[in-house]
């Protein structure tokens, strides 16, 4: 029998819906996956959600869970502080690619290295969307943005950052690192749920990068958007799990 899920996760805050993301934005799907995972794990009463600056900021009142909006790149350390002060809480640091891979990369690297018992969800949409579509650490080679008007020149600005691969490389047993995509919702939700469970089990640092859509800044229609995330992005950013604690493999 097919279980029919409610349209809106129970942990969502209905008062802030409809949400404020652009049409076609992937954030809503990532947050839906997170909401469903929270519901299924029954942890709405002990989740603390932290959101970064950038489009992720728009999630500050998204859930009926305690939420802290922090500064750009600083969500990871705030969640580290909360978790260390009250290990019973389940903390989620939610950020974009700029917050996690550029301005806050030192926090991501060190939280991972210390195996902090937190869950980071990082939304990769290949650009800085809220500030108007500039280059991000994840911008694809050749991709045009407002600060790479002739396309990203990898000689000048390097290649896109591979976050989950990096986290997998610098963490030890107990950590979890995966890359999902809003184009594969069930898989993404499974990764997020595993990342939360990994924190709840006290095993270690848990990291999920979510490939996400930004038609507004990509200037793409629905078909082109889907094509970009499913074909172009996944060529560079492979989906899958990069580090799974022993016994938790599929």
């Amino acid at each position: 029998m097919v279980e029919i899920l409610p349209k809106m996760p129970k942990s969502w805050n209905p008062e802030s819906k409809p949400h404020k993301f652009c049409p076609g934005c992937g954030h809503g799907l990532v947050l839906k996956a997170l909401g469903q995972a929270i519901d299924e794990l029954g942890i709405q009463d002990r989740v603390v959600f932290g959101c970064d600056i950038g489009c992720s900021l728009l999630s500050w009142d998204f859930f009926n869970v305690d939420t802290v909006q922090t500064h750009h790149g600083r969500t990871t350390p705030v969640m580290v502080g909360i978790k260390r002060a009250n290990p019973n809480l389940v903390v989620v640091a939610y950020m974009g690619d700029g917050g996690g891979y550029a301005i806050g990369s030192q926090h991501l690297v060190n939280a991972a290295t210390r195996n902090e018992k937190i869950t980071c969800i990082l939304v990769n949409n290949t650009n800085y969307a809220m500030t108007g579509g500039q280059m991000a650490p994840t911008t694809m080679p050749g991709q045009k943005t407002e600060t790479t008007p002739y396309g990203r020149d990898v000689e000048e600005t390097g290649y896109p950052m591979l976050g989950p691969e990096m986290v997998a490389a610098i963490t030890r047993e107990g950590a979890y690192a995966a890359r999902g995509s809003v184009a594969k919702f069930a898989q993404l939700k499974k990764y997020i749920k595993k990342a939360l469970e990994n924190q709840m089990a006290g095993r270690g640092f848990s990291f999920v990068e979510a490939l996400s859509t930004c038609p507004t800044n990509w200037r793409t229609n629905a078909a082109q958007t889907w094509q970009f995330i499913e074909e172009t992005m996944t060529k560079y950013f492979p989906l899958g799990e990069f580090k799974v604690p022993e016994g938790k493999e599929d």
């Binding site: 009926n64 305690d66 802290v68 600083r74 350390p77 502080g81 978790k83 809480l89 030192q106």
Partner: protein, 365 residues
């Protein structure tokens, strides 16, 4: 595991950094977040030695940004937490402190000032007054205690926790490398026996399911429109202004009799006080005013102290950082302001005395 690091009172001989660690411990601080930087390192050295004996925690972060933001996280989860930093670390610390200021998060930070700009010497300096009072992209809604002795370092570090939690403004204990390394005796005590200690409470993770049993905490300092920010900030400013009379602290000497009023803070105040008291004993008409809170500044008290002064001398190990505060808070008073600025170097009582004598004798304009 011991619960009480100190029972009753005890006379001890310590360095300033150790005093801070003991004071935080005595005040019931549960966790320190920090990144090593001279001259505050021994605060961490001693905290990490002491903390496990009393069930307290420590996290050495990747930088001062992280120290400040993990501190905020710890406080949000309901812990008495603190950090300590200096110089360039204080620069980085301003970002998290701005967030704490905007979100009324009761943080405690001990600043051991060092020479600047940027990285430089690590002993004498009062060059982090601007930064500590007004750093960050905000209005300086903070409390800054400037200490001058180990007893004060102990007393005000404890007080900082109470102030922060009572008023919910970021609270700083501002000392310097000299106080950090200096050795002198003091009386340490259990503050829970002596005063009412303000207990912390969590901002997040309270009992009940958000949206069902209670409202969720949705904490932010981002606003959609200027008016919304203005409204939030106006409330904070009103709270701050209301608290000013309760917060301001100062010390003064001989102001009724003095034609020359010397103004200094922190460790420089010690030199100034020695020089002034010596001169006063010799019958010279000189007094001093020492702000203990640099933020908020004891404006009314300074105006009162300066009522009879024919000239004022501001002495500091900085190039006019205290002077700007004095000038602003004395606005309208028609008294010539003289200065003795020695940015990043120490000032001896003899040097202050010499300057005072020259001013009193009219040998220096």
């Amino acid at each position: 595991m011991n619960d009480k690091p100190i029972t009753g009172e005890k006379k001890v001989f310590m360095t300033g950094n150790e005093v801070v660690a003991w004071a935080a411990l005595a005040a019931g601080a549960e966790v320190m977040f920090g990144y090593p930087i001279t001259p505050q390192n021994e605060i961490m050295h001693y905290w990490t030695r002491l903390a496990p004996k009393y069930g307290r925690k420590f996290l050495q972060t990747e930088d001062e940004l992280s120290a400040g933001f993990t501190l905020i996280g710890g406080v949000l989860a309901g812990k008495k937490a603190f950090t300590a930093t200096a110089g360039p670390g204080n620069v980085l610390m301003q970002e998290p402190m701005s967030m704490a200021e905007a979100m009324r998060i009761p943080t405690v930070a001990v600043i051991q000032q060092r020479g600047g700009p940027s990285t430089a010497t690590v002993i004498y300096s009062q060059q982090e007054v601007n930064l500590t009072c007004f750093g960050g992209n905000g209005e300086g809604l903070r409390v800054v205690y400037s200490t001058s002795s180990h007893q004060e370092l102990f007393d005000y570090t404890i007080k900082a926790f109470n102030t922060a939690w009572k008023y919910r403004f970021p609270t700083f204990v501002l000392a310097d490398g000299y106080q950090a390394k200096m050795r002198e005796s003091l009386v340490i005590y259990d503050p829970f026996e002596k005063m009412e200690m303000v207990e912390p409470e969590p901002f997040v993770g309270k009992p009940g399911t958000p949206g069902v049993d209670r409202k969720p905490a949705h904490l932010r300092n981002a606003y959609s429109v200027e008016e919304e920010l203005y409204e939030a900030l106006s409330k904070d400013i009103a709270d701050y202004e209301k608290a000013v009379p309760e917060l301001v602290e100062h010390e003064s000497f001989n102001t009724e009799e003095s034609e020359l009023l010397v103004i200094a803070h922190g460790v420089v105040y010690r030199s100034a006080a020695m020089a002034v008291k010596e001169l006063a004993e010799e019958g010279r008409k000189v007094g001093y005013f020492r702000p203990i809170t640099l933020r908020p500044f004891p404006q009314e008290q300074l105006k009162e102290a300066a009522r009879k002064a024919k000239q004022i001398l501001v002495v500091e190990s900085a190039y006019g950082q205290l002077y700007r505060l004095v000038r602003e808070n004395l606005y309208g008073a028609d008294i010539p302001l003289k200065t003795m600025f020695m940015p990043g170097v120490g000032i001896t009582p003899e040097e202050v005395r010499e300057k005072c004598v020259a001013l009193l004798d009219g040998k220096e304009a």
